[in-house]
């Protein structure tokens, strides 16, 4: 009898479809009569449109419509409950809030015609000087109103001043992280088609349900009239997690031209259309006793917000939650700038965690204590923010196992003490941590068909994390079916409601729904089997019956069994189950430890990452293969954030100067060494999803600090401003 499919390194169930091209992404959608939209974007960052000459564009070949704020239909701005957070819809008024804001939409029969006509649209502007520099505007920082998505503007426990006062050793430091972009492989694409008053939108989105609700709000339509479909995503990383204006604008112009309209954003568009990680400044004060126990942490995080929202997605959550410390204050301040709205980027907690984990390394040096030891001494079994115990927390085991695999014991802590033939070697470590869950649950439906196979559906997304695969595994495990006996479908707003695929919540929310639906389905199957006089299980107490390998069997005499297929054939009709969303999924933290080795060429400051070891505790590992891939991806993002990524904005014009993959330096394969990954893999008893917690964003936290700490260890230079470029290493 085979073991459960849960915990097995199963390959992606949609992998073949993806590599053969059978998988249809939003831009691949084929709709008869489709026409093409191109956006005309503002070249100023602040001011207003005083007029737009559209005559030439309108007369250009193939053009079906040129839409500006003067002739665009009036649309209702959707509320934040639909995850539309921008606060305004472009092309509704002449006001310009950032460079790259759409000011007109051209629709034509072919993409080439639309692109050409878009060059003929001539807006005139009344431009004002934009403010885009956080550094230059720090004196405008203020405390915004509390918002559930931002975390508390001010959080206090204990007495921070007294805690710092009583400390034997203190560290005070400022850290900063630049503007960064998600850079998903697939720029956002969409096709909108009307059939009378019914609207169907194929779009690259992490939340079909939210996008559907934003379209309903914009057009005043009921839910049954709007359908959003997205079976596959070429990455999202948060950039597709919000409801953005483009699908609404495209649907609006499709209605005007009475044809389906497709819009595929360009790579350059994605630097203004899909949000970004706001630039941040962190001011940290950390105090500890001589034996390394934290007495206080004071963490002030200042970040950019736009002119039309004040949401703060860089969250110092880790500072509040992870370490045992009686006196903690976190303060979140905002600075309004003439830039697009920010949103969650990869892990939004990465920048706060970077600052904290860098400061702890500085503290370890000030205490003359090993940084692993410092963290072990401050480990906490409870969530320090809520005071409740973590479901489970094997962070200490992560440190120990990681240190061992890495060979940490051989580290000479003195900066500059380790070298090889042509440079300096540095070893650094840091904690990785991210919230998971704590959001409304998801719904799901299940059909067990007459052939004994099952189909489960939920309006969730697979951002590339492996949702298709792990939900199939969970469903198969509970139903006692082989993997191929279960099909999991997602990415359609017509399926039972789910939350946006973000914030490391898909396994706890959707996984929970799949467990519930599958459990109900299996119990109904068992009920049929024990009620059926011709079944070998007839008359048994249902509790004695279990499901495995496509069969129901008597747990006390496993040879007494009947195939799912047989039960269903005799039943003659499908079993259908619908489960509605759980009110809430428990808020948990998943954790890990990263260890990194860098090599620094002291002549030119060139930093090479040589080795990374990451050990994680995500509760039970549903699929070691997809979990490992998640770590590799997260680690790569950290390498970029630590060493090369930085969106440059022209300080006078407010324009992004690096709107492409040649100017915005993501790490390439050659920059990334093998990432050695390990999991503690012990179920979290509090998890409603077979012991698994959310894990998606955890690996994209922590490694940035581990790298920075390693650079310090190599060189004695503490670069507190990301990215850690050769320039900054040498200059200091």
């Amino acid at each position: 009898m085979s073991a459960s499919v849960v915990g097995r390194a199963v390959s992606r169930v949609e992998g073949v479809a993806k590599v053969t091209g059978a998988a249809r992404y939003a831009a691949d959608t084929e709709v008869t009569g489709v026409t093409h939209a191109v956006l005309v974007k503002s070249t100023i960052a602040r001011g207003r449109v005083t007029g737009i000459d559209t005559a030439k564009a309108t007369a250009a070949p193939g053009v079906l419509g040129v839409f500006t704020h003067q002739n665009m239909p009036r649309l209702t701005v959707p509320g934040p409950q639909t995850m539309f957070l921008k606060g305004f819809l472009p092309v509704q008024d002449g006001e310009i809030r950032y460079s790259g804001q759409p000011v007109a939409i051209v629709v034509a029969g072919t993409l080439e015609q639309a692109r050409y006509a878009a060059t003929l649209v001539k807006p005139a502007y009344d431009a004002e000087t934009p403010q885009v520099s956080l550094a230059a505007n720090m004196d405008l920082a203020y405390l915004p109103e509390p918002h559930p998505m931002s975390g508390p503007p001010v959080y206090t426990r204990g007495d921070v001043a007294a805690g710092l006062e009583s400390a034997d050793v203190k560290v005070a430091a400022e850290y900063s992280t630049p503007l960064q972009h998600h850079n998903a492989m697939e720029p956002t694409a969409m096709v909108a088609a009307w059939d009378g008053d019914r609207l169907t939108v194929h779009a690259s989105t992490q939340g079909v349900g939210d996008l559907q609700r934003s379209l309903m709000a914009a057009f005043g339509l009921p839910g049954e009239s709007v359908r959003v479909v997205c079976p596959y995503l070429g990455g999202g990383f948060g950039g597709k997690a919000l409801s953005w204006p483009e699908p609404i604008l495209v649907a609006a112009v499709a209605r005007q031209v009475r044809r389906p309209v497709k819009l595929v954003l360009t790579r350059a568009d994605s630097y203004t259309a899909s949000g970004h990680r706001a630039e941040t400044r962190h001011s940290l004060q950390v105090g500890a006793t001589r034996d390394g126990r934290l007495t206080a942490i004071d963490h002030t995080l200042t970040q950019q917000v736009s002119r039309t929202d004040e949401l703060m997605f860089n969250n110092p959550g880790q500072t509040r939650v992870i370490y045992a410390c009686p006196n903690v204050r976190t303060t979140q301040r905002a600075v309004r700038l003439d830039l697009p709205i920010a949103n969650f980027t990869r892990s939004p907690e990465a920048s706060g965690g970077h600052a904290l984990e860098s400061a702890l390394d500085e503290l370890a040096y000030a205490l003359n204590m090993d940084p692993v030891e410092l963290r072990l001494r401050n480990w906490s079994a409870t969530n320090q923010e809520t005071g409740h115990p973590h479901g489970s927390n094997h962070l200490r085991e992560c440190y120990r196992r990681g240190a061992q695999r890495f060979g940490w014991a051989r580290r000479d802590p003195r900066p500059g003490s380790m070298r090889d033939r042509d440079g300096l070697i540095g070893w650094g470590m840091a904690t990785a941590a991210h919230a998971s869950g704590g959001v409304p649950g998801a719904g799901a439906d299940l059909v067990i068909k007459e052939d004994g196979t099952a189909r489960i559906r939920s309006a969730t997304q697979d951002v590339g994390t492996g949702t298709y695969t792990v939900m199939t595994q969970i469903g198969a495990d509970v139903l006692g079916l082989p993997l191929r006996g279960v099909e999991f479908a997602l990415g359609d707003s017509a399926f039972p409601r789910s939350v946006v695929a973000a914030a490391s919540t898909t396994v706890p929310s959707v996984g929970e729904a799949v467990v519930r639906a599958a459990t109900q389905g299996r119990d109904r199957l068992i009920a049929l089997a024990v009620a059926d006089s011709k079944s070998p299980l007839h008359g048994l107490d249902p509790k004695r019956v279990a499901a495995r390998d496509g069969h129901l069997f008597d747990t006390e005499r496993p040879s007494r069994r009947i195939a799912h297929r047989e039960v269903m054939r005799r039943h003659g009709k499908p079993i259908e189950v619908v489960v509605s969303p759980a009110a809430f999924t428990p808020r948990r933290f998943s954790v890990g430890a990263y260890f990194a080795e860098v090599h620094v060429d002291p002549g030119i400051g060139r930093i090479r990452l040589r080795r990374v070891v990451g050990v994680f505790d995500p509760g039970r590992v549903i699929n070691p293969k997809t979990a490992r891939s998640q770590v590799i991806g997260g680690a790569i993002w950290c390498v970029g954030i630590a060493l090369t990524e930085h969106t440059l904005v022209d300080p006078y014009l407010g324009r992004v100067l690096t709107p492409n993959l040649s100017g915005y330096l993501l790490p390439v394969n050659a920059d990334v060494p093998d990432i050695e990954v390990d999991f503690i893999d012990r179920p979290d008893p509090s998890s409603p999803a077979l012991g698994a917690r959310g894990f998606g964003e955890v690996p994209s936290t922590g490694l940035t600090a581990a790298i920075g700490n390693a650079v310090y260890h190599a060189t004695g230079v503490r670069v507190r401003d990301l990215p850690i470029t050769p320039e900054k290493v040498i200059k200091s």
Partner: protein
């Protein structure tokens, strides 16, 4: 943004090639790795694209007398597969342009005609004293690469001229090219340095040093090379050469890097490049 269509021509002989290039608005199309993005960005609007890749004289590498003749449309991937010491500084550059896919298309002639200050084969062409063979309906001329560049992305070639080949004299000595980039691959040189050293009985008898991405064009630094001649290329001589290299550079701040850091990198990079060229000149295998 491309706004107009274009005619595509595929000549098979040099005679047809230069006739086609005489058309108004004609551009030579080699690998297209520069031309296609430039056209998409609206920087150029070719009316006629003349594909140079199917003319036999423009493909392949041959020894002709005391020179190596490289057809202008030879791809960097083809070049990279050669191992002949005499082209080292060019091959070092050819092997690191873009990614494998880029190098399968990109040509040496394209890199030269694009004349980017950061072009990775250009410093090598300079130190190895390469000569460009240009042909048009007006005839043939041979322009040393040292006289080829006139400014960023500018050169002496007329639009109607085809670059047919590049000749590199076969000489004693060792050469090398190294660049500084932020990424380990798929990045453009922030600073590049090439060197060629000819060593007899442990003494440098001839030398050339060229710098890239730190001046409006890739350029030779004769003063730096001269300080090495007559020395054993010891630390002191190399340090002198580095001073001349820095003095000859005029880097700018741009999105890729700052003037300050370019200046900082120039010295150690020149030193590393000279040491690699020296090792090669002395015949031992590079480290």
């Amino acid at each position: 943004m491309p706004t107009t269509g274009f005619t595509y021509l595929r000549p098979l002989t040099v005679a047809d090639l230069i006739r086609d290039l005489a058309e108004p608005g004609a551009f030579a199309l080699a690998g297209g790795t520069d031309l296609v993005p430039l056209r998409a960005a609206g920087a150029i609007t070719p009316a006629v694209l003349v594909d140079v890749k199917h003319v036999a004289e423009l493909r392949g590498v041959e020894t002709e007398g005391d020179a190596i003749r490289i057809g202008a449309a030879t791809t960097l991937a083809d070049l990279g597969e050669r191992d002949g010491r005499s082209l080292d500084a060019i091959l070092d550059g050819a092997k690191i342009v873009g990614a494998a896919q880029t190098r399968e298309r990109a040509t040496l002639g394209g890199n030269l005609c694009r004349s980017s200050p950061a072009g990775d084969t250009l410093c090598g062409l300079l130190v190895l004293d390469a000569v460009a063979e240009l042909q048009s309906l007006d005839g043939i001329r041979h322009v040393p690469v040292r006289d080829f560049f006139t400014g960023p992305s500018r050169n002496v070639k007329k639009p109607s001229e085809a670059l047919v080949s590049i000749r590199v004299p076969v000489r004693e000595g060792g050469s090398a090219y190294r660049r500084f980039t932020y990424r380990r691959s798929m990045d453009l040189a922030v600073v590049g340095v090439a060197a060629w050293l000819s060593i007899e009985d442990g003494v440098c008898v001839n030398a050339a040093i060229a710098i890239g991405a730190v001046a409006p064009t890739p350029r030779l630094v004769p003063a730096a090379a001269e300080t090495l001649v007559g020395t054993t290329c010891d630390d002191e001589a190399i340090a002198h050469a580095c001073e001349h290299v820095v003095a000859a550079s005029s880097p700018i701040d741009d999105v890729r890097g700052t003037r300050d850091h370019r200046l900082r990198v120039l010295r150690p990079l020149t030193r590393d490049t000279l040491l690699l060229a020296l090792t090669r000149a002395l015949g031992s295998s590079p480290p």
